[in-house]
């Protein structure tokens, strides 16, 4: 495949500018670049979702004209979008055959074919499963199966590893190598440079919409690659001196959240303690209960049993608003769904979540002037890049949206911060500043519950890390000694820490063994210093 002079202009932005590179058949070709560099746009052009304003694409030497995904599919291009393009209420079979019904119909022939592909690539997919029931890893494999089912020769993967744990990433890469061996071409995008270097045969760097260079992964290291991308060093989450005190701020006691009638509990006996100045990290593969844990703590969901304490007060049956008023700040995982009114101006978004608090409200009324003034302050202090506080939240970039949210949540002197994936999808600059904010607040005595899929971030910021698996806390780790691989293994229940690890990991069931794992002990023995975290170093 060959690209030449691809240019794509969006209103106000040039997303791609004179892009050109070649991809050899039977190779894995990586594309790297910062947020907004134009990678996704380029891939969408290759897949016919968007039309380039200029430039040409050649596949096997023949120029192709891609008007729609169907054209791309016809010339053997398949794409896996970062946000999975699956209909949850359809079965795997329906999702896979959709649009490719001509190949093997939508019945038994297709079912057989799916089983065949699944077996030969070790994808382990049941064609009759409902997608809604499946986890991220399986969904990713369905996406790949979709592409293979269509006999694609060129496969595009847009940030396929962002939501996977290391083991899953390894599996994926094995699959990719398998595909490569069969002569397929893989184009793939990632922000994780180590991965890129380990799997790619060549790497193209894009900066501000243009190709900077195509390099051989054997000849560069990650640092050099990063420098090519941004021209400066990547900040990494660095740990600093521990600020953990012995003042317990947030504590949960044996929280259970029942699933549906026939399913296992979504949360099963979660007990944890966070002290002032402590960052408690939770590692887990998506869908293992961390989202529900956050919702229970925030009062958005009623636990089936169990208690939540803020300081010494039982807040289990408090409502979200009371909990927030009591000083629990919340950075939700899905900002579009849970943290923003996309169609409302920034200053109204400043009010959201703090409708009853100064300076947003005066008695029963909204204090628009106060809220606007404070929004200006947040925009200034947190470097939210926006032309005005009157534009809609939707028109900000994701990183700037996130900075606004962080600024808003930190504006009410919180005692606890519940942060789920606070830097997901934001660019390096914004990421660094969000980390800084969390660190500063922690120094001032904030207790932080941090949930993140980015294990580096988790290890770098946390004072203690718990692993959550199938609704249970299955292990406790010291961030100073643990590696991302160890965590990954624990998260999938693959090694060492068995699922339901309450046998050899008493921390998950602290009440049974008080003192055995103080970091998870709900304050049963207050005299125990949180020495097992940073201080012990």
């Amino acid at each position: 495949m060959e690209l030449e002079g691809i240019t794509k202009r969006f209103p106000g932005v040039v997303a791609n500018k004179d892009i050109g590179f070649k991809v050899r058949r039977g190779t894995v070709h990586a594309i790297v670049g910062e947020n907004g560099a134009g990678k996704s746009t380029l891939m969408k052009i290759l897949y016919g979702v968007q039309r380039p304003d200029e430039g040409s694409i050649r596949v096997d030497g023949k120029e192709v004209n891609l008007h729609s995904p169907s054209d791309a599919i016809a010339v053997g291009i398949g794409m896996v979008f970062q946000h999975f393009q699956l209909a949850d209420n359809f079965t795997v079979l329906e999702n896979v055959t959709l649009g490719a019904e001509k190949l093997h119909g939508i019945g038994d022939a297709a079912r057989t074919k799916i089983r065949e592909i699944s077996d030969s690539y070790g994808l382990d997919i049941d064609p009759d499963a409902l997608v809604a029931d499946l986890g991220v890893g399986a969904r990713q494999r369905i996406e790949i199966l979709k592409v293979l089912y269509r006999n694609a020769r060129i496969i595009i993967l847009d940030e396929p590893t962002a939501v996977l744990v290391p083991q899953e990433v390894e599996e994926l890469f094995d699959n990719l190598r398998g595909l490569k061996a069969e002569g397929l071409t893989v184009l793939f995008i990632s922000h994780k440079l180590d991965e890129v270097l380990s799997v790619a045969d060549s790497v193209t760097v894009i900066r501000r919409g243009t190709t900077i260079d195509t390099v051989d992964p054997k000849s560069v290291n990650a640092r050099q690659l990063a420098e090519l991308m941004v021209g400066s060093q990547l900040p990494t989450p660095e740990t600093e001196e521990s600020t953990v005190t012995d003042k317990v701020v947030l504590r949960t006691e044996d929280i259970v959240l029942a699933g549906g009638a026939a399913t296992r509990n979504v949360l099963d006996g979660i007990s944890l303690t966070i002290r002032a100045g402590e960052v408690l990290g939770i590692a887990g593969v998506e869908g293992n209960g961390q989202a529900e844990l956050v919702e229970v703590i925030m009062g958005m969901r009623e636990p089936t049993s169990g208690l939540v304490f803020l300081h010494d007060k039982d807040i289990s049956d408090w409502h979200v608003r009371e909990i927030r008023e009591a000083g629990v700040a919340y950075i939700p995982e899905d900002r579009h769904r849970h943290a923003l009114l996309l169609e409302a101006p920034l200053w109204e978004n400043r009010v959201l979540g703090h409708q009853t608090e100064e300076p947003n409200a005066k008695g029963g009324l909204i204090n628009a002037a106060g809220a606007k003034a404070d929004t200006e302050r947040i925009v200034r202090d947190y470097d939210v890049r926006t032309p005005s506080i009157h534009v809609k939240a939707a028109s900000l970039s994701g990183g700037n949206q996130q900075k606004l949210i962080v600024g808003r949540e930190m504006s009410h002197q919180p005692k606890v911060l519940v942060a789920a994936h606070p830097t997901r999808g934001v660019d390096v600059g914004a990421q660094a500043s969000i980390w800084d904010i969390i660190r500063t607040a922690r120094r001032d005595g904030l207790a932080v519950l941090l949930i993140s899929a980015d294990l580096e971030e988790l290890i770098g910021l946390s004072d203690t890390i718990h692993v959550i698996l199938r609704g249970r806390l299955t292990g406790t780790f010291d961030p100073d000694t643990v590696t991302a691989e160890d965590l990954g293994a624990a998260m999938t229940g693959a090694t060492g820490h068995e699922p339901g690890g309450d046998v050899d990991q008493p921390s998950a069931d602290a009440s049974a063994h008080p003192g055995a794992a103080p970091s998870a002990d709900p304050g049963a023995d207050p005299s125990v210093k949180p020495s097992d975290s940073k201080d012990a170093r």
Binding site: K44, Y47, V49, Q50, S68, P69, S70, I73, M79, F81, H83, Q85, L86, A87, D88, N89, F90, E94, N95, T97, L98, G99, A100, E101, K102, G105, I106, L130, A132, D133, K146, A258, G259, G260, A261, A262, T263, V266
Partner: protein, 422 residues
């Protein structure tokens, strides 16, 4: 505002969606149980009309237009377009049936009905699919236009015709109906005997083979066809995919706009056919205001039926049955329903207390149940004014007792814009 509405009240706990499909055996059992219930009720209350073939035939007649409107709604909403404009499409269908039916004959009337509905569907499709207009806005506007347009046209075209007038068409020619000769009569004899269960079964069977309009048969076939097309063909898969996840469909090369467009047009045609049934079969003429809100009821029946043909059929049948019962038997037949309701309430109350430990709700249900029971035993009939509301009350009650598991197509009511979703 968007057409999708709020989720509040529907269960959020990640229950596994029950994919227990009802097998033909289950269906048979359900039907059997329903007939048994009716016959017990008939014997206990003495309301002989409850399972008569006449009532059931009437129920079919009242259910078909609703079911057709609902089926229209199903097509459109399966493709992600909320269709509150069914009423308007039906109205256009009645006029189409009246106009072509009078001038060209009954079968052409049917064509006219469908054409009228399709015109309505196309307007809705252009507005919602092409211009991204909020589905509710478009539907409401369509209803207003259709109402005015049909009246305007009928004044324009039916005034002065023999038997016609500003609000009605002349008498329309009849469409054929089917009766299985020997069977219908012998079942009739059996039915007259009022033997427990046997006569009731005979009544049901007789209703199925006596004076069945050809349009009813077409309607049944359309149900089967809809099920087959939407759930068994590639076309249907694509159509449903644009209602579940248009972005995913688009990424696989499905022309989302085209499928939505087709679905809404078909939706209009089906609703129009429902209107055509009213004009050609139920009344033999077009009359202004003939639809009487049946489009809305069809929409309700579809939601009731959880966006599935079988459920929709059950919903329309329930409505048709209760409506026919109150229209034919008036207060006396409806009075019999009180007994069912009382027993149901007391049963639920006991269950609430015994199995779920909900004392307050349970006792409340029992008390209300006893009250209804007392009402049953202390009166012989229900006033006309109240019995007329039976179908609405029953629908509401059934929904209240068995809602919650409804699941609409995931992208229903969302405005889709090409290429903006990825």
């Amino acid at each position: 505002m968007s057409a999708a509405g709020l989720d509040v009240g529907t269960t959020k706990v990640p229950t596994k969606p029950s994919r227990r499909r009802l097998t033909p055996r289950h269906w048979a059992l359900i039907v059997f149980g329903a007939i048994l219930l009716m016959s017990v009720l008939r014997v206990v209350t003495g309301a002989n009309d409850l399972a008569s073939s006449g009532l059931l035939i009437a129920a079919f007649g009242l259910a078909v237009p609703i079911a057709m409107a609902g089926l229209g709604g199903l097509w459109s909403e399966r493709a992600g377009v909320v269709n509150i404009g069914l009423e308007g499409m039906m109205i256009l269908g009645t006029f189409g049936a009246g106009f072509l039916g009078y001038h060209m004959g009954a079968w052409w009337g049917l064509v006219g009905a469908i054409a009228g509905g399709v015109i309505g569907g196309l307007i809705h499709a252009v507005a919602t699919v092409i211009f991204g207009v909020d589905h509710i806005v478009s539907g409401v506007a369509l209803n207003i236009i259709a109402l005015g347009f049909a009246k305007y046209l009928s004044v324009r075209f039916f005034s002065g015709l023999p038997g016609g007038g500003p609000t009605q068409s002349p008498q329309l020619p009849q469409l054929p109906s089917v009766t299985v000769p020997g069977l219908s009569d012998s079942l009739g004899t059996l039915e007259e005997r009022h033997i427990f269960f046997v006569s009731d079964l005979a009544g049901v069977l007789r209703a199925l083979c006596t004076r069945v309009s050809i349009v009813t048969i077409i309607a049944v076939l359309l149900f089967v066809a809809t099920w087959w097309i939407l759930w068994r063909t590639a076309f249907g898969l694509r159509l449903r995919s644009v209602g579940e996840s248009p972005v995913a469909a688009e990424s696989l090369g499905v022309n989302v706009i085209r499928y939505k467009f087709i679905a809404v047009a078909v939706s209009g045609g089906l609703a129009g056919l429902g209107g055509g049934f009213l004009a050609l079969v139920a009344a033999n003429l077009f009359r202004d205001g003939q639809t009487g809100g049946r489009g809305y009821i069809g929409l309700a029946a579809m939601i009731f039926g959880n966006w599935r043909p079988g459920g929709l059929l059950a919903g329309s049948a329930l409505f048709g049955y209760t409506d026919a019962a109150q229209l034919r038997g008036g207060g006396t037949t409806v009075h019999a329903f009180l007994l069912v309701f009382a027993i149901l309430l007391i049963g639920i109350g006991i269950w609430q207390v015994a199995r779920r430990g909900r004392l307050v709700q349970g006792v409340l249900a029992i008390v209300v149940g006893l009250g209804v029971g007392a009402w049953y035993f202390l009166t012989d009939t229900i006033p006309q004014e109240l019995s007329g509301t039976t179908p609405y009350v029953v629908t509401l009650l059934v929904l209240a007792f068995a809602s919650q598991r409804l699941r609409m197509p995931a992208a229903d009511g969302q405005i889709y814009r090409k290429g903006e979703g990825h």
